[in-house]
Symmetry: C2
């Protein structure tokens, strides 16, 4: 019955059927506006163009681009040609990108003006990569590249019909240790998540979604399919900044967007929200991490719309749990159990199951922390070319997330730590977020990251990296004394590195602090088995 | 990856997780009110009880009941025990029920007080059926039956874990050959439709759905899963009547229900809506057939809520297209293209594809009538034990519906005819060949054609044109009395035109009776979009 199952082509076909004359893409970077009928024609042209290159079914197609309408076309056109999308995180170093392109066997790379230089380096360095497609406007492509618009204008070809189990994309997950690995997502995985999101966010053809977070990141990229399947519209800014974001929200009457907490904080601090009318906005989704209650309240007022949190990971295509608008609205008013649940990542979305388990695999009772196991049609097929890591992650029909949480009686997950970030010191499990929460309560602390460093005696000991606020002063002893009142003695930092305000902690594209970079110098030459 | 796919158990588990203390079922017939935690416990008890009977995985479990909370429990408990639900249309004649029970191999039959007599007849007549479970309140079961509550209270057993491809239910649908055939629906079929409906009807945990249409009919029954998956509540009246329906809508603050157009007409005519407050109602879904524009307007005013139409069939679990609230609201105000689309059955819902094709299988252009082909994860696995009919219905990954429609440019389907000559009277599908088979068994009948004629109250009623044999005599009453022993009351001709032997029915060159010509004078001046 596989042929009865949806593929990514169904998503575009439906948008182009029910909303042919409606706006598909509004690209603020290039000024181009298109209808769904036009986008469907362009995507078919792109897929035909791909079939005309020296590629096979299943060939990996790389993308290294800022946000744009063409970027969206690739998310439909590559799977539509029976090939596999590998959208690259442009914040990675050239050597990391080379590793990923070689590992996934990228044959052709779509690149915009911004990343042309690094794309040329990759063309030289990567084994199978031998074609660059330049995705700028017009047909005047830089030397040695094919113009995207030329590729689209080529002869029409018969497009393959995918099955739902075919691979549609490989997304590399940073992982806190080791080499990046490619999560293989099928048409079924991606369309399942899209449908789940249409339910959660109640997306309709009247919605207008702003791509402000980077499209290469699945949190934003997956909204391509949910918004399109409902027949809605897409607005693009090349990259997030507070002014461009607020301006796009207002001028394009955006109804829906997804931002990471850091972006929300920056937007609130920018003052850009003060003088604009965001009446059309109905839902601000935030992902990647929960937000402190104070920021939630400010965002609720600043954006003046409903709020929801999505929690997930690449391996889940990506959404697992959802903290809904009602919880945000009633929780902000102090009503229980909503107020307490604002600290959670939400409850399992429709179509997905999540269980908290003890280390022996048995279910953890309500309130007891354990590893989050996940089950659903959105769970990846495995890691590309990593049979051992796949076998460790996909166990008896469940995906082991590695994240640690406890659940309340209604299934709301309170994520206490990434299992990979858990410190085991003297046989005690220490969840770093708990220590960080304590550190953050000190008034002089601007930013903090806690992780384990090697110790002969304890296996690991707790270490904190702390950035102080402008003008503030802080000593190690002061901070530890402050924490002593808040957490158990064995959880206290044994060492602290105080950083000045100019020495911010390293962050990922999603604004997440990169503990792995902070940790690396301490672990050089040591073997750390967990994580 | 089958194990990652949802089954019917996921639906109940989620409701019992996210809304454990919320109301699951409010049974107005018995006065019982339960929470989702209680319903989950009862359903697990029912499944354990079924495993304790002399049954195997995949055994067919029959149900012959009015609407009730216990009826809903069976829709979860039978598939939850790894068995197959066969919910019987209680309007069928005893002989029809016997055929269906034998054909599907029913082993145990759940029956309420209303149908105990016919159930006993079936117990005698049916080959494999050897147990009756009485679904009344309490444990005092009539002689020769097991009490439902006793079955539930038995020892807990380990429940099987279904896969999504397992059969969950067999629903019988009239066949063109006259014999009903069983559409086999898998867990995947049923959960796919449920998710599609959650999207269409934007169902949430705050919804309260009224089961007023018969639960045995998939149009109502399938709402069991969509409403539950969202965590909503169910209200039951034993059977539709205008007073009970309006009273339940008002007293239980129902937000959502599905009625067939005849029920809506009867409710409007009853005057029951005049003095009640239905402020909670947000959406009235109607199915089975379109409604005349005048009735749509009256319903819009009378119920004072949004309206939507669902079109589908048993083989599609059942929903294929959806005519949304916006179309009803703006169409009622005369705005195009909405006003014109009110005559349609709506556009394909998310997750389902529908195409209109010519008889050679090629796509029909916009506006040209052809057969509706359907594709989606909701399409049945086939007809039980009917390889030929299955092969004719499931072709190259598409389901051939037999319905004839044209599509507008946005994919809205305007159903112009039923290839199978089906009559829809009061929301019931009546296959003309079945009625003709009965008519032809009368010794005086030489030729007969059965078709629907317009009716204010029923949409259509069954009409028979009969040519008598030379020298034979026949009256209308005689013919109807003859048919009464063979087919259900609702299928009986309401009017008969007896023709002499000199007045043969009009025929095509190939000798096929031209029903269109016979039908035309009756439908002159009527807007008949389905039939």
């Amino acid at each position: 019955m596989t042929q009865m199952e949806p593929t990514i082509s169904w998503v575009l076909d439906r948008a182009a059927l029910i909303n042919a004359d409606g706006e598909s893409t509004i690209d603020i970077g290039t000024g181009e506006r298109r209808t769904w009928a036009e986008t469907k024609e362009r995507v078919d042209g792109l897929a035909s163009g791909l079939l005309g290159l020296d590629l096979e079914p299943g060939s990996r197609v790389g993308v290294l681009m800022l946000n744009s309408a063409r970027h969206l076309e690739l998310w439909f056109g590559v799977p539509g040609a029976g090939m596999v999308l590998n959208d690259l995180n442009f914040r990675l170093a050239a050597e990391e990108l080379r590793f990923i392109c070689d590992d996934s066997q990228v044959r052709v790379l779509f690149v915009d003006e911004t990343f042309l230089l690094v794309a040329r380096q990759l063309l030289d360095a990567c084994e199978l990569l031998d074609q660059l497609v330049w995705t700028g406007v017009g047909t005047q492509a830089p030397e040695g590249t094919i113009a995207y618009e030329t590729l689209l204008a080529g002869p029409a070809r018969e497009l393959p019909v995918a099955t739902s189990d075919d691979l549609a994309a490989i997304f590399y997950t940073g992982g806190t240790t080791g080499l990046p690995k490619g999560a293989m997502l099928t048409h079924r995985n991606i369309t399942a998540n899209a449908l789940h999101m249409v339910v959660c966010a109640q997306i309709t053809h009247a919605d207008r979604y702003l791509h402000a977070a980077p499209q290469f990141h699945l949190a934003d990229g997956a909204m391509t399919f949910s918004t399109s399947w409902a027949g809605g519209s897409h607005v693009f800014i090349p990259a997030f900044d507070p002014s461009a974001t607020v301006s796009a929200l207002a001028s394009e009457k955006v109804t829906l967007t997804l931002l990471v907490p850091t972006m929300i904080t920056m937007t609130l601090a920018s003052g850009e929200l003060d003088d604009v009318d965001l009446d059309a906005m109905r839902l601000l989704i935030y992902g990647a991490s929960p937000m402190p209650a104070a920021v939630q309240r400010q965002a609720f007022e600043g954006f003046g719309c409903g709020m929801a949190q999505a929690y997930g990971m690449t391996e889940a295509s990506p959404v697992v749990t959802w903290l809904d608008e009602e919880t945000h609205a009633r929780g902000a008013a102090g009503e229980e159990p909503f107020a307490n649940r604002l600290r959670s990542a939400g409850a399992p979305i429709i179509g997905v199951r999540a269980e908290v388990r003890r280390s022996d695999g048995s279910p953890a009772p309500t309130g007891e922390a354990g590893e989050i196991y996940i089950q659903g049609p959105n769970i990846m097929a495995g890691y590309w070319n990593r049979p051992e890591e796949t076998a460790a992650a996909l166990v008896d029909g469940w995906y082991r997330s590695g994240d640690v949480a406890y659940a309340d009686s209604a299934g709301y997950l309170f994520v206490v730590d990434r299992a990979k970030d858990m410190i085991i010191s003297g046989g005690e499990n220490i969840y770093t977020s708990e220590v960080e929460n304590a550190v953050y309560t000190h008034p002089a602390v601007a930013e903090a990251a806690v992780f384990g460093i090697p110790s002969e005696e304890w296996g690991e000991t707790v270490h904190a990296e702390v950035v102080v606020k402008p003008g503030a002063e802080l000593t190690n002893d002061e901070l530890i004394a402050h924490c002593r009142d808040l957490i158990a003695g064995y959880k206290l930092p044994r060492s602290v590195a105080i950083r000045s305000e100019d020495d911010a902690l390293p962050k990922s594209g999603a604004g997440k602090i990169l503990k792995r970079d902070l940790r690396a110098p301490y672990w050089d030459g040591h073997d750390r088995s967990v994580g």
